[in-house]
């Protein structure tokens, strides 16, 4: 039936337009729910002034207003009844319009009235009659449109006269009837749609509430329902985005974020630790983007080997072979990105001849930051598989010398093969632990050092998804520890006085702060270096503040790269300039490596000044002068010093005797509750000796000056070791008293035993 309507619709297009016009007209005339806005009808063009019309208007409007509200409030069960009502409404409007106009045609009106009032009558009849009227109306309208120019304000300004044209309209009744039905249906549909939209809006505005514990339990039993989790993720992100308005009662922000972390972890397959790390680093919406970006690999890139080829020529050759590529970007003159390729890009004769190297875009960055110059002496501390090393060599044009170091022997062949293939001739490949390199290659000898540190790999999850589940907090801490040792070694190898260089570039393929900014901050504290800009315009600056950490403001010169933001692997690049070859003396903190440079100096035979301190150490061994012990005790001394400084707020006087390496005036020191023994580097051959007195203040001045003088004399590598009593000792002043008595019994220079209530006794041995 409907289809037939449609067919007829096409045929009766013009008529339909008239119907539309009429119905729209009627709709426009009608008031909203307000009701009787058009009361009186005077001045409205379609209604002629007169009581009758207004009466009808009122009646009609009332009816309509009653009927409109059921449509708006329409539920699902009311369909038919309301449809009928709406149809009636439409028809009545049509009728009403016509009725309003020809008030003079009482005959017609009288004819129509019974139909109007007869709600129970068959609707078809009503419809037919209405359609008839409408049809005639339209005709009148059509005919009268010509007359509009001559519009006179007579009784029916629209000229909706019925009487004349009824006979004519009878022919087109069927068609018109159907088109009116369609019209009515259309109005109905619109109303339905609006109603539904209202419902939908209401539905969305319904509060999303977090799943209860029972629901979560149920979910955990079943296999994860990914679509459900995904919608929940989206919902939580939406709620968190507009928390004030969208939050559910009783749930605070923490609940939402917790649930989100769980959902993201299960959806993307991360372990809890990593997910929490990422949620701490990014705002909520960005976390999802980041995780999405980690699911897909970054585009493959190549680097033209400028020793053997030019980028333009290489592009032509490869395009001929069927590789779809483009230059990497404005920031690189040698990079190409491969979109797709008919041939394997790693198997072309050009590749085998060493014209280019397959390398990720992010790997270009540390070498660009390093900016090696010709004829320099460069060290690459973690060189395998050799992409960066060969890039350095090509930038240097095979001049100078590069030391390519790689710890793992199994990776040496690939490094060697790449170096030979790319035609690099100035490289020496060695197989050392990076931390030992300064001892081998010499300190303060290199112009530049590149350290692409071994890391957790959280930036290259796209390449290696196993990182998602295998990395834990301990792994990160271990990585960070190693990285700190390596960066110190790197800094130590660089010659600050190099004419052309003096730079270190530290890079990782990780996005975690513990491996990036924290390591740089550590280096800034331990060595005399400065973070400088690496010349990379794009990329986000490193964080100077992150949760509870506060890093040096220069850390903002480092650069971070993210897969979702830059379309390259997650990366971190920092460029340090070595200002001088001095090594700072700072107290050791937790989770940080013993400074190997310092340790080496000690191992070389620094005077161990305060042997009695060894007795105070928690090591508790008898042989306080073991070399191995020495380091430990020095560590502990540092700790004690720090603690003591914290507690007492001032430096303590140093007590040493030149002949004996034991504290003579221990009792005095104990009185002061603070003993600080300062060691001076042995290489200068002298040992400063100061006796502590009860008045620390007086003594410290001259002592300090002496120390400073000695430092200047000794040059830059003086290390001060300040063994301090353990925290325990510091805290337990009372116990000291008893110890003092005991000590006073012991002659200075003799073997002394320190009695530490919690520690074992350690005999003191003489030192040379």
């Amino acid at each position: 039936m409907f289809s037939t309507f449609r067919v007829e619709l096409n045929e009766t297009n013009s008529l339909f337009q008239f119907v539309n016009f009429a119905s729209n007209f009627v709709m426009a005339l009608l008031p909203g729910k307000g009701g009787k806005k058009r009361k009186g009808g005077k001045g409205t063009p379609t209604k002629s002034p007169g009581k009758k019309s207004s009466k009808y208007d009122d009646e009609e409007f009332e009816e309509v207003s009653e009927e409109e509200s059921p449509v708006a409030r329409r539920g699902k069960g009311k369909g038919n009844a309301i449809e009928k009502k709406v149809k009636k409404e439409v028809l009545q409007k049509a009728k009403g319009k016509r009725m309003a106009v020809p008030e003079s045609d009482s005959e017609d009106e009288s004819d129509y009235e019974p139909e109007m009032d007869d709600d129970s009558s068959e609707e078809d009849e009503d419809e037919d009659a209405a359609l008839q009227k409408l049809g005639s109306t339209r005709e009148l309208l059509g005919s009268d449109s010509d007359d509009e120019d001559e519009m006179e304000m007579d009784d029916d300004p629209m000229g909706l006269e019925f009487s004349d044209d009824e006979s004519e309209s009878e022919k087109e009744l069927d068609v018109e009837k159907k088109s009116r039905k369609i019209d009515a249906q259309k109005i109905l549909d619109e109303k339905d749609a609006e109603a539904e939209m209202q419902l939908n809006i209401q539905g969305e505005a319904d509060d999303f509430s977090l799943p209860t514990a029972e629901e979560l339990e149920e979910e955990s039993k079943r296999p994860p329902d990914l679509p459900k989790i995904q919608t929940r993720i989206k919902e939580i992100v939406r709620v968190l985005g507009n928390f004030k308005q969208l939050r559910a009662e009783g749930s605070d922000r923490g609940d939402y974020t917790k649930q989100l972390a769980l959902d993201l972890a299960s959806y993307y397959g991360y372990n809890e630790f990593l997910m929490n790390m990422f949620m701490q680093m990014f705002p909520v919406a960005e976390v999802v983007e980041f995780l999405e970006a980690n699911e897909t690999p970054r585009p493959v890139c190549l680097r033209t080997n400028t020793l053997k080829a030019r980028r333009r020529e290489l592009m032509d050759v490869l395009i001929n072979r069927g590789v779809n590529l483009a230059p990497l970007g404005k920031w690189s003159k040698v990079g190409l990105v491969v979109y797709e390729s008919k041939v394997p890009v790693g198997a072309t004769p050009e590749y085998m001849a060493g014209h280019y190297m397959l390398q990720s875009a992010s790997s270009f960055l540390p070498v660009m930051a390093l900016a090696p110059q010709e004829k320099e002496r460069i060290i690459d501390m973690a060189a395998a598989p050799g992409g960066k090393t060969t890039y350095i060599a090509s930038l240097m044009k095979n001049t100078g010398v590069i030391y390519a170091n790689e710890l793992k022997e199994s990776r040496l062949p690939s490094l060697s093969a790449n170096i030979q293939r790319m035609g690099v001739t100035n490289t020496i490949i060695c197989n050392y632990d990076g931390r030992k390199l300064p001892g081998i290659l010499g300190k303060n000898t290199a112009d530049r050092v590149l350290l692409d540190a071994p890391c957790s790999g959280t930036g290259v999850i796209g390449k290696d998804p196993s990182v998602k589940v295998t990395k834990s907090g301990e792994d990160i801490v271990r990585c960070a520890f190693l990285q700190k040792e390596l960066i110190l070694a790197a800094i130590d190898m660089v010659d600050a006085a190099s004419k052309t260089g003096g730079y270190i570039v530290y890079s990782t393929c990780s996005v975690l702060v513990a491996e990036n900014e924290a390591v740089i901050d550590y280096a800034l504290r331990k060595r005399d270096v400065k973070v400088v800009s690496g010349g990379l315009d794009f990329g986000r600056p490193g964080y100077t503040r992150f949760r509870e950490h506060r890093f040096h403001p220069h850390v903002a010169n480092t650069r971070r790269f993210f897969p979702h933001a830059h379309n390259m692997d997650g990366f971190f690049v920092a460029k340090l300039k070595k200002m001088s070859n001095t090594i700072k003396t700072t107290p050791k903190e937790d989770n940080e490596p013993e400074d190997t440079a310092v340790a080496e100096e000690k191992d070389n035979g620094e005077a161990v000044v305060a042997d009695e301190d060894t007795a105070n150490t928690s090591a508790g061994s008898e042989d306080a002068e073991d070399e191995g012990k020495q380091n430990k005790t020095k560590v502990q001394k540092k700790k004690r010093k720090k603690a003591a400084v914290q507690e007492n707020g001032f430096d303590r006087a140093e007590k040493t005797t030149p002949s004996k390496d034991k504290n003579a005036g221990r009792s005095n020191a104990d009185d002061n509750n603070a003993v600080k023994h300062k060691k001076v580097g042995k290489h200068n051959g002298t040992v400063d000796v100061k006796k502590a007195t009860s008045k620390n203040g007086n003594e410290e001045g001259p002592e300090r000056k002496k120390q400073k003088n000695s430092r200047e004399q000794n040059g830059s590598e003086v290390r001060k070791k300040s063994p301090t009593p353990t925290k325990e000792n510091v805290a337990t002043g009372a116990k000291r008293g008893s110890e003092d008595q005991r000590k006073s019994n012991i002659s200075p220079g003799g073997q002394r035993k320190q009695f530490n209530s919690k520690r074992q006794m350690k005999p003191k041995l003489r030192r040379k």
Binding site: H355, N398, G400, E406, N426, I429
Partner: protein
């Protein structure tokens, strides 16, 4: 790492002479451009773990402080001594040879891949050959775009090559860059040549 002794030096130089002929003098007396020392030094050969390396003197001097076990390679590896004491050139020497080669062969694109898989070059694959190539002369193989592909021995002299059937071998394969792909460990073992 140590310099080569007499026997070793003769062996190496003989092999090289096969390929570069009189250009050998140029090769050895080349001035190093690495600019490390104020006075540019030359190149030298060094033996380390049975492999021979061709390095500039300045670089060699800077490698002396690296322990023997820990040194992996320096400069360019040109070949290795086998267990029986013979010297073989490896493909990594190709750049050096190509720079000083006297006799060259150009191979058609259709025969390129075949050569890279380790096959000999047939007459049908031969595009060009330098004149007056004596038989059993060391020859460097190039592709039509002048990319050095490898080296080998000329099976026939240039004059004889013209008389050959299309299926006759003109170049005995010794080494090619395809070893990067075909070797099990992606070229790292540096397959032997002659």
């Amino acid at each position: 790492m140590r310099p080569l002794d007499e026997d070793e030096t003769t062996q190496v130089l003989e092999k090289l002479h096969k390929f570069v002929g009189s250009n050998l003098k140029h090769m050895i007396e080349r001035q190093a451009t690495d600019g490390l020392d104020s006075k540019p030094g030359g190149f030298c050969f060094r033996l380390h773990k049975q492999r021979v390396y061709y390095v500039s003197e300045a670089v060699v001097r800077r490698a002396t402080n690296i322990a023997r076990e820990k040194l992996s390679s320096l400069g360019t590896c040109i070949g290795k001594f086998t267990k029986s004491g013979k010297f073989k050139l490896t493909v990594t020497c190709l750049d050096l040879l190509a720079a000083h080669a006297k006799y060259k062969i150009w191979v058609k694109p259709s025969a390129e891949m075949s050569f890279l898989y380790g096959n000999h070059v047939l007459k049908s694959g031969l595009a060009r050959i330098t004149d007056n190539t004596p038989q059993h002369q060391g020859v460097v193989v190039y592709s039509m775009s002048d990319i050095p592909l490898g080296f080998g021995l000329a099976a026939k002299s240039t004059a004889d090559c013209r008389k050959l059937d299309p299926t006759d071998i003109v170049l005995l394969h010794q080494s090619d860059i395809g070893v990067v792909l075909t070797s099990s460990s992606r070229g790292c073992t540096l397959l032997n040549a002659s």
